[in-house]
């Protein structure tokens, strides 16, 4: 930049009174609005993030209950607990909800809550978009729950293969609701990803160059990029499906030049990265917890970052290993075998680096670390069974059998949910200001760990014994009864663990020990502020001096001044080295994003029933959007006096001033 202004380093006096004045001013500048209208206007990343997390766990519980119903149905052969019609809805909603309404959103929610704190800024970029994305996600999820209660739930499996999901073989509106649920959640996820990328690239505290970014932030960055490149595909192919079903397009109709495999290519081009979108943030959580509970930075930071990025790239190159049985040319299949096997390498590197960190550090076995250790025991096994699935011949036997069911529960529950629960135990004090009960936590862990393995390990054997997935019952003669019963009993332990977890959360929230700012002595910036953080996150934006923001912090560390506290000003830094570049202003809370989300949702649901929803929806949509972006009158007045203050040019005569600057 030609007219690049450098910040000035100097010493400045601070007194308790000035600090107190600043604190008060920041508090009422970054206020969180009250009242009903206020509740729907909030744009603070912590509030929205918290709602995101709670909502996601709500769906997790609902989908978990459905899983319980499935285990009841399968516990004994020829069971008549639920019929095929209901069972198909149950397993479809279970899978759909776990993937689209729990796993991805909850990980992004952790990012929404933690990233701004970890990189030392006051709010997430585009806070109103953030609120909008939450409400769209919420309404999409509520819609799916409603369909389940209205006997209108999708019943074609979470990947809705056509033609079964097409107009000819799924009458009614069940599959349409599935396709629109995709649109809801993807709109939300894409919006959050754009916010996260911008936040991470532009609003890091001065000194936090890319090579000093916490691994969790790296993992959220990789995830956000994967979402941005993967999810447009599923939005597109589910739109094709909806159009085929409602207005009679022919995308998937072989008789009219369409193709059934097109769906599988498009869906899995999204669907495989999806797995890593869920799993990569969990890696970040694991790193945070390990470093905090060994009091050492993670071993091999550059290798870890490289592995995350590599995973993000390779993840797009192996979708066809979901289609080995379709009879595609053998040569292509072998390429995808190779690709699927290659992705084990970056994962391996990370596993080894973590083991090295544990070896070097002094582990303290609190609940969060226990969940991470459980993650090791489970995820390594799931990863290895994944390697076996990458081999075409072996996959031809176990594909779509319970072996696969076991595999992806090992990688998703073990690889993502265990670290997530650990992360909740880890960050709960930061989010609520109270510690979670460690003793209950340990019981909770062992219930989960044992319950999980008892439930899902037998499924490997069931798969090798030829039990296909998605069957609502099986004959006694197949000899699958015993293992299924064992598995169902294990599910009981999982349920107990879940209940205990919820109890622990509620109880600790009300009566837990009050937490200090940094109860675990962790290294990242979120622990530098109070627990729970104030609405403005940091009284002074810190200047980061090393990779471990807190551990490498010198006693006389510098802080940022010159950011106005009477308006919502945020410091922007440059992408690579986090040099201060400019100061920008974030919008106030507003009800418009919520209204816009309401209109959008109404449009999505309406379009299931008639194409006329589009023309009907456009005017209100335009109104809400204009309301959203319409400037406030006082901006102008404020800018006048603002420019009277600082060194920048006043609004009028800008051209002249600029010419002088150039000359």
């Amino acid at each position: 930049m030609s007219d690049f202004v450098h910040p000035i380093e100097r010493r400045m006096a601070f007194t308790l009174t000035s600090e107190e004045r600043l604190r008060r001013q920041l508090a009422d500048t970054w206020y969180v609005p009250r009242g009903i209208v206020g509740w729907f206007s909030v744009a603070d990343h912590k509030t929205i993030g918290r709602r995101y997390i709670i909502t996601a766990f709500g769906f997790f519980i609902f989908a978990g209950i459905l899983a319980g119903l499935m285990r009841i149905q399968l516990a004994v052969p020829n069971n008549h607990f639920v019929g095929p019609d209901l069972y198909n809805q149950i397993f479809t909603v279970h899978g759909t909800m776990m993937m689209f309404l729990f796993a991805v959103p909850v990980m992004e929610a952790m990012g929404v809550y933690l990233v701004p704190l970890m990189i030392g800024t006051r709010n997430i970029a585009f806070p109103r978009l953030n609120a909008f994305s939450y409400y769209v996600y919420l309404f999409g999820g509520v819609m799916l729950v409603a369909t389940m209660l209205l006997n209108t739930a999708p019943d074609v499996g979470w990947f809705s293969y056509v033609p079964l999901a097409g107009p000819d073989y799924t009458p009614g509106k069940r599959a349409d609701f599935w396709a629109q649920m995709i649109t809801f959640t993807e709109v939300a996820a894409l919006a959050v990803s754009v916010e996260l990328v911008t936040t991470i690239f532009k609003t890091r505290a001065p000194g936090m160059s890319l090579n000093r970014m916490p691994l969790f932030v790296w993992s959220m960055l990789v995830t956000a990029f994967m979402v941005i490149f993967a999810m447009p595909t599923v939005v597109l192919c589910s739109t094709f499906l909806l159009l085929d079903r409602t207005v009679g397009t022919q995308f998937y109709n072989p008789a009219e030049g369409g193709d059934a495999l097109l769906w599988q290519h498009l869906f899995w081009f999204f669907g495989h990265p999806e797995v890593y979108i869920i799993f990569v943030p969990a890696l970040g959580i694991v790193s945070s917890i390990i470093s905090a509970f060994t009091w050492r930075p993670i071993f091999g930071y550059p290798a870890m970052v490289m592995s995350l990025v590599a995973t993000g790239f390779i993840g797009f190159g192996l979708w066809v290993h979901h289609m080995f049985a379709t009879g595609l040319p053998a040569l292509g299949l072998e390429y995808f075998t190779a690709a699927s096997i290659v992705i084990a390498i970056p994962t391996g590197i990370q596993i080894f680096c973590w083991i090295a960190s544990l070896w070097r550090g002094r582990p303290r076995f609190h609940t969060p670390l226990l969940f991470v250790l459980g993650f090791f025991a489970i995820f390594v096994l799931g990863g290895l069974s994944g390697v076996t699935l990458a081999s075409v011949p072996f996959d031809l036997q176990v594909h779509d059998s319970y072996y696969v069911v076991a595999h992806f529960h090992y990688v998703l529950l073990g690889g993502a949910v265990f670290p997530l629960i650990g992360g909740i135990y880890f960050w709960f004090p930061k989010m609520t200001g109270r510690m979670m009960d460690d003793r209950l936590g340990k019981v909770n862990f062992w219930l989960f760990f044992i319950g999980f393995n008892v439930t899902f390990f037998p499924m490997h054997i069931l798969g090798l014994e030829g039990m296909p997935r998605r069957i609502y019952t099986y004959p006694d003669s197949m000899g699958w009864g015993t293992l299924n019963l064992v598995s169902s009993l294990g599910a009981l332990l999982l349920v107990l663990g879940g209940v205990l977890f919820v109890y622990n959360v509620v109880r600790s929230y009300a009566w837990g020990l009050v937490a200090s700012d940094n109860p675990w002595g962790a290294e990242t910036l979120e622990w530098a502020t109070s627990s729970p953080p104030p609405v403005y996150n940091f009284l002074h934006i810190p200047v980061v001096e090393g990779r471990s923001a807190l551990w490498n912090r010198s006693p006389d560390a510098s802080v940022v001044t010159g950011i106005r506290s009477d308006v919502r000003e945020v410091l922007l830094t440059d992408v690579m080295d986090a040099e201060p570049v400019t100061v920008t202003e974030y919008p106030e809370p507003s009800i418009w994003p919520f209204l816009c989300a309401v209109v959008t949702s109404a449009f999505f649901v309406g379009s299931i029933f008639t194409p006329w929803a589009l023309p009907v929806a456009i005017p209100p949509l335009a109104v809400t959007l204009i309301g959203w972006f319409w400037p406030k009158k006082r901006d102008h007045a404020r800018e006048m006096e603002e420019h009277a203050g600082d060194g920048t040019v006043p609004p009028e005569g800008r051209l002249r001033a600029l010419r002088e600057a150039r000359a």
Binding site: L150, G172, T246, N253
Partner: protein, 179 residues
């Protein structure tokens, strides 16, 4: 006031449930018990008198997406298309228009199928189970758009023959006289 609002909400909820159930239920064996009526293997070609008109509300397939879709499949498989084409008509009358010679009520259509009609419509008594007749009835009504929009079938996975049922303009049935 507030109670009124509660009532309205409750009413909407109930009607929503009702609509969804009617549309989405898969009544696999609702007619299993009652299906004996028109089905007696008759070993002599003589019929003992006329049959009582079945009540339309006996059918679980009106306004039901599953039944309509099954009817659409059977309409092909039983070769109704041979005479009626895909509703456009051929040897037999068109079924996607508004003219109904023998009545447009489900019961009338049921009878037309079971009893047959002059000028070529064969009697399908004992050849098509009641359950399937009712499914055909539901589909035949949908051909002229006389079903809720969310029940009408869309395109099939076949060659395209005409605008899908859910894209046709609904025809108000007009009773004409038998030729």
């Amino acid at each position: 006031m507030s109670r009124r609002r509660v009532f309205v909400v409750a009413f909407c909820a109930v009607s929503l449930v009702a609509a969804a159930c009617e549309r989405e239920i898969r009544p696999f064996q609702t007619l299993a018990v009652a299906s004996a009526r028109t089905q007696k293997p008759v070993l002599s070609p003589l019929f003992p008198g006329g049959q009582p008109l079945p009540e339309p509300n006996e059918s679980p397939f009106q306004q039901n997406a599953y039944g309509t879709a099954e009817g659409k499949r059977l309409f092909d498989q039983f070769n109704c298309t041979g005479c009626h084409s895909h509703g456009g008509g051929g040897m037999g009358p068109a079924l996607m228009d508004d003219t109904w010679i023998y009545g447009s009520e489900p019961a009338n259509i049921f009878e037309s199928i079971v009893e047959g009609r002059p000028n070529g419509m064969p009697a399908w008594r004992n050849k098509i189970a009641d359950q399937q007749v009712w499914q055909l009835v539901a589909y035949i009504q949908s051909m002229s758009g006389n079903e809720p929009i969310d029940v009408l079938p869309s395109r099939s996975d076949h060659m395209r023959y005409s605008t899908p049922e859910n894209a046709r303009r609904a025809q108000t049935p007009v009773q004409t006289h038998a030729p």
